[in-house]
C-alpha cells in the first residue's frame, strides 16, 4: 500500500509526500484541517489541502519570520502575531526575555486545538503567561489598535481562502496605524517563482510599499513550499533592516538557532536579479 499527499503547485506541477498515516482530519467553520505523519518530513499540517508546515523544515520559516524583525528592533516589548495558530512564531518569540506581551490573533480556534494535540513541536508555548490568544478575524482585530505594538508578524496562509484579508491594503494600513512610531511589520510574502505566486507577491508588495516608508523583501529556502524559494516582507516606519541592524547585539542574547544567524540576516536581503525586477515593477 502506498498513500501519498499531493499538492498542486501549479496546474502542471505536483509535489507529493509519502504518508505513513493520517492523524487528524476535520472541518472548521473556515477550512478543512488535516495532520499527517510521514517518514521523510515527520508530521505535517495542511489547510484546505495546502501545506502549512512540516516538522522537518518548519524551523526555517519560523526563525526567519521572527528573528529578523526582533533583531532589527532595538527594544521590542509588545508583539502582535496574526495567524500562526500552529504556535511556531510564538515559540520563537517566547525565547526573548525582554518581550512583555504577545497577542496572537487566529481566526480558527480549531487550528490551535489540533496543533496543540498533534504538533507539540510548534504548539508548545501557548501556556507562557505573556501570550494572549484572540480568536477573531485579524482584519477586524487590528482595526481598533492604535500606536501600541513594536513588532507585528503576519503569518498568513495564502491570498485566497480565510487568510485573504491579510494581503489587502486596508489590512497593511491598519497595521501601520497599530504600530508605534518605530514599529516593524513582517509578513509571509509568497514566492517569486511560479507565475501565479509571483503575481500575488507583487500585489502584496505594491500594497505594502504604498503603506510604509521602508519596505524591503528577504528570502529563505523552504523545501516544502512551492518552488522552495520563499519571501518575507519587512515593512518599517523607522529602522532599515540591514543599515540599522546590530548582529553582535543579537548574538549576545544567546538565542540558539538552526537557520538564522547575523551573516544570513544581511545576506537574506540580497535578492536574485529577477526578484529585484519583479519588485521594482510595482514600486
Amino acid at each position: 500500500m502506498e498513500l501519498w499527499f499531493t499538492e498542486r503547485h501549479t496546474p502542471n506541477v505536483k509535489f507529493s509526500i509519502k504518508v505513513d498515516h493520517q492523524l487528524y482530519s476535520g472541518n472548521s467553520e473556515f477550512q478543512r484541517i488535516d495532520v499527517f505523519d510521514s517518514k521523510e518530513f515527520g508530521r505535517f499540517l495542511t489547510l484546505d489541502g495546502y501545506m502549512m508546515l512540516t516538522e522537518k523544515d518548519e524551523f526555517i520559516y519560523h526563525e526567519m519570520i521572527t528573528h529578523v524583525p526582533m533583531a532589527v528592533h532595538p527594544n521590542p516589548k509588545n508583539i502582535l502575531v496574526i495567524g500562526a495558530g500552529d504556535g511556531g512564531v510564538v515559540r520563537e518569540l517566547t525565547r526573548y526575555p525582554s518581550v512583555e506581551s504577545i497577542d496572537l490573533v487566529e481566526i480558527d480556534e480549531l487550528v490551535v486545538e489540533v496543533c496543540k494535540k498533534y504538533l507539540p513541536t510548534t504548539a508548545c508555548r501557548f501556556d507562557d503567561p505573556r501570550v494572549h490568544v484572540f480568536y477573531e478575524d485579524g482584519v477586524k482585530f487590528i482595526r481598533r489598535c492604535n500606536d501600541q505594538y513594536d513588532v507585528i508578524i503576519v503569518d498568513s496562509t495564502d491570498p485566497f481562502g480565510p487568510g485573504e484579508g491579510l494581503f489587502t491594503k486596508e489590512f497593511y494600513g491598519s497595521c501601520f496605524k497599530a504600530l508605534r512610531d518605530d514599529g516593524i511589520m513582517v509578513n509571509q510574502h509568497e514566492s517569486p517563482f511560479y507565475d501565479e505566486d509571483a503575481a500575488a507577491m507583487q500585489r502584496s508588495h505594491k500594497r505594502i510599499v504604498e503603506s510604509f516608508p521602508i519596505s524591503k523583501v528577504y528570502q529563505a529556502h523552504i523545501p516544502t513550499y512551492p518552488s522552495g524559494h520563499w519571501l518575507f516582507g519587512f515593512a518599517s516606519k523607522k529602522y532599515h533592516p540591514t543599515n540599522d541592524y546590530n548582529g553582535t547585539k543579537w548574538s549576545m542574547q544567546g538565542i540558539k538557532t538552526r537557520y538564522y544567524n547575523p551573516r544570513l540576516h544581511t545576506g537574506a536581503f540580497a535578492l536574485p536579479c529577477y526578484v529585484e525586477e519583479l519588485l521594482r515593477d510595482v514600486e
Binding site: 482584519v139 477586524k140 485573504e164 484579508g165 489587502t168 486596508e170 491598519s174
Partner: protein
Amino acid sequence: MADLSQTNAPIYEALRKFRRMRVVPFDVPGHKRGRGNMELTEFLGEDCMNVDVNSMKPLDNLCHPVSVIKDAEELAAEAFGAANAFFMVGGTTSAVQSMIMYACKEGDKIIMPRNVHRSAINALILTGAVPVYVNPDVNRKLGIALGMSVAQVEQAILDNPDAKAIMVNNPTYYGICSDLKRITELAHAHGMLVLVDEAHGTHFYFGENFPVTAMAAGADCASVSMHKSGGSLTQSSFLLLGKNINADYMRQVINLTQTTSASYLLLSSLDISRKRLALGGREIFAQTVEMAEYARSEINDIGGYYAYSRELVNGDSIFDFDVSKLSIYTLPIGLAGIEVYDLLRDEYDIQIEFGDIGNVLAYISVGDRKRDIERLISALSEIKRRFGKSGSDMLTQEYISPVVAETPRKAFYAQKRSLPLEETAGLVCSEFVMCYPPGIPILAPGELITDEIIEYIKYAKEKGCQMTGTEDINIERLNVLDY
C-alpha cells in the same frame, strides 16, 4: 399546475430533461450548443452553452406560454402572493415600462415621485403619458430624496382626479419606503391604479420584518428585480399583478417591446431563484440583515461616517426603512460619497453599488462573506485615516424640484439644438441628465434648466460622478428645445 409545488422549477426541469434527449439542432441559435464558437464556450462553459436554446414545444414560449413557462409563472405568482406573474427578460426596465403602458395611453396623467428611475420616464416618452410629479420629501442633512408624504399624494389626487395611475418606489435606492398601504387605499378610492417599482424590494416578499410588499398592500402591479437581491442573472425580473389587472391584455402590452427570443439562461435563473427564495428565503435574508446590521454598527463606531437605519423613520415620508441596505453618509469625513466610492475601488479593490454627493451604498446580499464585510469596514476606516479632512466646504446634495414645461414625449421628439451647458439656463431640456448609478434624473426631457441645476451638474462632474443621458458624451453641451 395541480401537482406542482414550490420545490419544483418547471423551466429548469424541462431544460435538464431536454439536455438528456440530445436533440440534434437544426434551429437557432447558430452556435449549436457552443460547438460553433469554441472560444465563447471555453469562456462561459459547456453547460451554459448547452441550455442557450430557442423556444420549442418541450420548452414553451415566453410570448405565449402554455406549458412549462406557464407553470413556472404560476409558481412565481404563488410565491410572491400575486394573482399573476410574468417572467421578464428585458430587465426591470421592461417591467416598469409594461405597467405604465398598461395603465396609460397618450395624454393620460400619471402621478409619480420625481425620484423615479429613468425607465419610468422613458415609458412616458413611449406612451405620451403626462407626469404629475409629487416632490419627494428631503432629508436636509443627508441630502437624499425620501418617500412621498401621504398628504402630498392626496393633494395630487385631488388636483388631478383624471389621473389614471400612481407610481410608488418601494423602497428607494437608499432603502426608504412610503406608506404604501394608505397610498394604495387613497388611489383605489379615486379609481386610480397603483404601480410599484420594487426593483430594490425582492427580499420584502421572502424575509421577515421587512417593509410591506406591493402585493400585500393591495397594489395593482409591481416590478421586481429578481437579479438584485433575489440572486438570478442580470437582466431577469418579475412583473407581478394584483387581482384587478387583466393578465391577458398585460401579456399583449409586454409583447409590444419584448424579444421573441427570450434567453433560457435568464428564464431558468428566475425559476431556480424563485424556488430557492420560496424554500429558504427567510433564512437567507436573516443572514443578509445580520451582516448589514453588523457592518452598520462597526462603521458607526469608526466615527465620522453615518450608516443610517430605522431611526430615520418618521411615520410618513420615511414610513419604513429596509435594514438590508447599507447606506452611509460620508460628508463628515470631508469626502463626497462619490470620492469614497472611487477610493474604495482604486485604493482597496472594493466595488460598491454607488456613490453620490453625500452618500455611498454598499449592496449586501447572501453572496457576501463575513471576511469581505470586514474588508469593507477596514477600508472605510483607512480612508478616513488617510484621506479624511474637515467636512466644512462640502456641498450638500439637494433635491432640486423640477419645473415641467413640456411632456417628456413632446420634448424628446421636438426640434432641438445643442448649446454649451453654461448657456442653457432658462431653456427647456430635451434629454436626460443623471448620475448612473443611481439613474435618477437630475433633468428629464421637458424640464426647465436653472442656474442651480447647472451648478449641480458641474459639481457632480468635478467630484467624479459618472454622468449619462445626454447626446454629448462629455456632458459639456445640452440639447434644448428650439422654440
